[in-house]
């Protein structure tokens, strides 16, 4: 038995760890103490009804949203939101903390959110060049490799509105990859797509999982969750109600709420 610090109990060390994260909008308590651990290289699928807080949770992980309390750790960065932002200079410190959290991850949005005034390749290199200060030529070369990989190299100089939804989302994924993050966050990446375009995006995500990317994927694609995710987290009313391997959470859920949700997704009629 190894005693190296990397072999914590229960397997690989957590790349992402969420402890007691809460978030309210006014009176609406959207996240009620969420805990979540994701190991390096692991894919976690997050499922749950609309309005249960999945998007808010993802946004809290990369500093797009500020939790009211709780600790979010990604890689070497750890932010305790209960204390962050308090005292003199607290607001600036909080923004900095959220910024360093954000540097650890990259997000793929439901509605792609590509920059419409920039070409495909400009979308991809914007972060690397403008924020990370990499050379334009180098960033372009890397971007072309990634675009080629998703079959969009010849669209490099097209504008987003000239692409199909599936193509736009693949650019969205390439834009996230180009940031070289530790963690990839997906918020219902295929929900806005026409059904026939969903497959390409899911296949790409499966390849990324096989390559060892650490991914948190909010999705309603149960088959994807079953085949690709190591763990499935069922979010209900702002809590992770149940989490475990897909065979358990999707196949033999412990909680009645999970059972109902999975049944409704599998048998909509």
């Amino acid at each position: 038995m190894s005693l190296s610090p990397d072999s914590s109990v229960g397997g690989a060390p957590a790349l992402l760890s969420v402890r007691g994260v809460t978030k309210s909008f006014g009176d609406n308590e959207v996240l009620k103490s969420v805990d979540l651990d994701v190991s390096r290289g692991e894919v976690v699928a997050v499922i749950g009804a609309s309005g249960s807080g999945k998007t808010t949770l993802l946004r809290c992980l990369n500093g797009l949203e500020t939790p009211d309390a709780g600790v979010v750790s990604v890689g070497a960065v750890s932010v305790d939101f209960a204390s962050a932002g308090q005292g003199r200079g607290g607001v600036k410190a909080l923004e900095r903390a959220k910024g360093s959290l954000r540097d650890q991850s990259a997000m793929v949005f439901q509605h792609y959110n590509l920059f419409p005034h920039r070409t495909v390749i400009e979308n991809v290199i914007e972060g690397p060049v403008v924020v990370q200060g990499r050379s334009r030529d180098e960033a372009r070369a890397d971007a072309l490799v990634l675009l080629d990989r998703v079959g969009l190299a010849e669209k490099a100089d097209a504008y987003p509105h000239q692409l199909s939804g599936g193509q736009q989302q693949r650019v969205g994924i390439v834009r996230a990859l180009a940031l070289k993050p530790e963690l990839l966050l997906f918020d219902e990446p295929t929900s806005a797509l026409d059904p026939e375009l969903v497959g390409d995006v899911l296949l790409l995500m499966r390849d990324l999982a096989a390559e060892g990317w650490t991914m948190v994927v909010v999705t309603h694609e149960l088959q994807f969750a079953r085949e690709v995710a190591a763990k499935v987290a069922f979010v209900d009313a702002g809590r992770v109600l149940e989490m475990g391997p897909p065979s358990q959470v999707l196949g033999a859920p412990r909680e009645e709420r999970t059972r109902q949700f999975v049944r409704r997704l599998t048998h909509p009629l």
């Binding site: 990369n62 797009l64 910024g99 959110n113 005034h117 972060g127 924020v131 940031l179």
Partner: protein
């Protein structure tokens, strides 16, 4: 009573020159400064800091709620009584740019708000600060929305510069007044001045259309 065509043609040169060295530079300078004020005021207006936002609101309210002529007179004839004497040209530029800034601020603010929230999120996601997000992502898209109304603001401004004649700036209209006073041909000169304004505005409108087409090229019409 016929038209004195020879006076018409003789006056056209001086009037065109006054437009070229008076009206147009005055409009351009005031518009450029006014846009800086407008973007500043719009961002202040959108600030979470209530005091900052209130200052911008007050500025916009005062500018929109008072006549341009009053603003010009306060700067040129009013400030000297506080010991601040400003020459006609700088006075006109100050008053006109403050005026344009107040009107355009609301246009710029609306344009910034019209940009999809997802664009802010994507900008933050790739690691941008608020300032960088504004400069590289939000303002370029807001500009596209703001161009038509701002073009109209500019065309109004060109006509408004004629008020600067009342604080002794020799621009197109003042030149027309001078010639009219000298020749007593008021009707002819004022109509001729109007024609020159009209031609300038027609040229600007066609420029506006071309600019809008160019800006729309890369973006699907939403």
């Amino acid at each position: 009573m016929g038209i004195d065509w020879s006076l018409f043609w003789d006056s056209l040169g001086p009037l065109a020159l006054a437009a070229l060295v008076g009206t147009i530079p005055l409009a351009l300078a005031s518009f450029a400064l006014g846009m800086v004020l407008a973007v500043g005021a719009a961002l202040m207006r959108l600030s979470k800091n209530r005091l900052v936002s209130a200052i911008a609101r007050l500025y916009i309210s005062v500018i929109r709620g008072t006549p341009l002529l009053v603003q010009l007179f306060v700067v040129f004839y009013g400030l000297p009584s506080l010991g601040l004497v400003i020459n006609p040209w700088p006075s006109a530029i100050i008053a006109l740019s403050l005026n344009v800034g107040g009107y355009a601020a609301e246009v710029v603010r609306a344009a910034i708000l019209s940009v999809d929230k997802g664009q802010w999120e994507a900008a933050y996601m790739v690691g941008m600060s608020r300032r960088t997000a504004l400069r590289r992502v939000i303002l370029p898209q807001a500009a596209r929305v703001a161009v038509p109304p701002l073009s109209n603001t500019f065309i109004s401004l060109v006509k408004d510069t004629s008020l600067a004649s009342l604080i002794l700036v020799t621009e197109l209209f003042r030149k027309a007044q001078e010639i009219a006073a000298f020749t007593q041909e008021f009707m002819l000169l004022y109509i001729e001045a109007g024609l020159v304004y009209w031609v300038i505005c027609l040229a600007l409108s066609s420029g506006q259309m071309r600019l809008e087409r160019r800006l729309d090229r890369h973006v699907a019409v939403a």
